[in-house]
């Protein structure tokens, strides 16, 4: 009798979980379908809009907002001189560059002083609307050709703290936060400023663009000379992952003004608004998402119609983790950042005061971004347990798995199609085939690693295991011999 009751209970749990996973999966598929439609619309609309405000119009215009690019640098002596040269070359008429030396223990600062002929000036009374670690000195170049460069030397406080120091010191309307080791497209600023020029009834608080992966590409004078797909599988799959996240995630959300995250590696913000919310939060590793949410919350609270937008173009290139260990560390950190941010702003959950953000966007992030690894992990556990209990009909399970796998392949293939159709980066048959293969291998070879990293991150948060940013050993892209021009 007891055994029968136990079996009934297992069946009961089995069916409840089955329906839960089915419902969750169906919601996710429906969201992806919506995302494809929205993303296509968004890309087309942006292309049409761009015809009426071309880069050449902006580059010759006066009265456009001035921009400061802020790049924190910590122990980057190997690459800092070249990276600064590349950042100085960005095309924008009203442009300043601030490098924040975040307490480097190597000779990063000295290299900058020597190469760019920097001199320090009095920083006794620097105004710091956002509190940061101590700023030691401010440097500027004696050379006319580097006059838009400022270097802030401060005590180590982390990336967010360094960004805040840069934001404090900037005197422009817009600030672009990036990493010193990112390769930025030369006309990126001209494109990023477009939404600020064109919006008329909503204030643009932040603008992002797609970030591409540059492992094994050829870089010359800080410019991507020849974009290549990475040689190894892990970064190659990340190329597909970034394309899909950008098209089916960011672009789709941008179309319905639902963007809450502008990547910390490349985000343009209205400086005054960032100062109003006290800058980046230095206590979380998910500082970009946290700032995005805080900015939107602030705008809702002061009742100013606003927008966070994404541009349908890859304007920034970065190196992706090249091996499993680094990838797990990165995803562990992202998961912790997400957890921290979601916890910090839990008051948003179905909070009508914050309108769409409280009712839809935040709950989406909670259920489908924060929740996805947990659901996947539970699914895996259930599969093992119910297999042991002999409750699984393998014929149906395999067919179901194949259907879901194919559906995933379709979403990835459509993303690649939209990307190839609209952007010029990967345009040879070989490259597209490689991308497709990477996309089809992803669920078996890559996705389990991601889930592992994410679950590890959540575990650390739940059980209070201390962990920081972790280091990423960069393999580097191929750099052509330096030329003077």
């Amino acid at each position: 009798m007891v055994i029968l009751v136990e079996i009934d209970l297992y069946y009961y749990i089995f069916w409840i979980l089955n329906y839960f996973f089915l419902l969750y999966g169906l919601c996710l598929i429906a969201l992806y379908f919506f995302a494809i439609i929205l993303s296509t619309r968004s890309v087309n609309r942006n292309k049409r809009k761009a015809r009426f405000l071309q880069v050449n119009d902006i580059v010759s215009a006066t009265d456009i907002p001035s921009i400061t690019l802020i790049a924190p640098a910590f122990n980057e002596s190997k690459t800092i001189v070249e990276n600064v040269k590349s950042l100085l070359a960005l095309q924008y008429p009203y442009y300043e560059l601030i490098i924040v030396n975040d307490g480097s223990t190597d000779n990063t600062l000295q290299l900058l002083i020597d190469k760019y002929d920097l001199e320090s000036f009095d920083s006794t009374f620097i105004t710091q609307p956002i509190p940061t670690s101590t700023v030691n000195k401010i440097y500027r170049s004696r050379k006319l050709q580097f006059k838009q460069l400022t270097v802030i030397d401060k005590n180590n406080g982390g990336k967010s703290d360094a960004n805040n120091a840069g934001i404090n010191f900037a005197a422009t309307e817009l600030v672009l936060c990036t990493d010193a080791d990112c390769i930025i497209e030369q006309d990126a600023l001209l494109k990023m400023v477009r939404p600020y020029l064109e919006e008329f009834n909503q204030e643009i608080v932040a603008c992002g663009a797609a970030i591409g992966i540059i492992n094994d590409s050829i870089v010359k004078n800080g410019v991507v000379e020849k974009l290549r797909l990475p040689d190894s599988l892990i970064p190659m799959i990340q190329v597909v992952e970034y394309i899909r996240a950008f098209l089916l995630g960011r672009m789709a959300w941008s179309e319905i003004n639902g963007v809450m995250l502008v990547s910390g590696a490349f985000g343009l913000y209205a400086r005054n608004r960032v100062i109003e919310v006290n800058g980046f939060n230095i206590h979380t590793v998910g500082e970009d998402l946290e700032l995005g949410i805080r900015l939107r919350k602030h705008m809702e609270e002061i009742k100013v119609p606003h927008k966070m937008v994404y541009l349908p173009e890859t304007l920034c290139w970065t190196e992706a983790p090249n091996n499993i260990d680094v990838l797990i560390k990165q995803r562990d950190r992202w998961a912790r950042g997400l957890w921290e941010t979601m916890t910090l702003h839990k008051d948003l959950f179905f909070n009508r005061k914050y309108r769409d953000m409280g009712l839809f966007y935040y709950p989406y992030w909670m259920v489908f971004e924060l929740g996805a690894p947990i659901v996947e992990f539970l699914g895996l556990l259930s599969l093992i347990v119910f297999t042991m209990l002999g409750l699984i009909n393998w014929n149906v399970a395999i067919l179901l798995f194949t259907s879901i796998y194919l559906l995933g392949c379709i979403f990835s293939t459509i993303s690649i199609f939209i990307y190839v159709k609209n952007f010029k980066h990967y345009n040879t048959g070989k490259e597209v085939i490689e991308l497709l293969l990477a996309a089809y291998l992803e669920p078996f070879l890559y996705h389990p690693i991601l889930v592992l990293g994410q679950i590890q991150g959540y575990y650390k948060k739940i059980f209070g295991v201390k962990s920081g940013w972790g280091n990423m050993d960069r393999k580097g892209f191929k750099t052509l011999p330096k030329e003077r021009l």
Partner: protein
């Protein structure tokens, strides 16, 4: 024959300036990017260079300074889309430039300088 180097990304502007230069009795090398420069260009002594300042991998002002060192020439004329007063002041302050023309431009002004 006098020698001129024209560097403009916009092929229409490039071709028009090239014709103007040729009709003013110059031997003209017209290229669209500084990446198209070769070793021979570096040793040729140009009478005039008519160039943009917007190039990949080099800041506008840095370009004006560096081209002095890389390519021998007598005078440098800038024709660029990024022609705001602020940029013009900075470029002219370098004292390396004979003329600065923001686009749109009247080609007659260039003709006066190269005639």
């Amino acid at each position: 024959m006098r020698k001129a180097l024209v560097i403009q990304e916009d092929i229409i502007i490039l071709k028009i300036i090239e014709r103007l230069v040729i009709l003013n009795q110059y031997e003209c090398r017209a290229i669209r990017s500084i990446n198209d420069l070769d070793i021979e260009d570096q040793s040729a002594n140009f009478d005039v260079i008519i160039s943009d300042i917007l190039f990949e991998g080099i800041a506008p002002l840095d370009f004006v300074f560096q081209i002095q060192e890389i390519i021998l020439h007598k005078s440098l004329i800038i024709v660029t889309n990024m022609g705001q007063n602020k940029i013009e002041k900075e470029i002219l302050a370098s004292q390396n430039v004979r003329g600065f023309f923001p686009i749109p431009l009247d080609m007659d002004n260039i003709q006066k300088l190269i005639a």
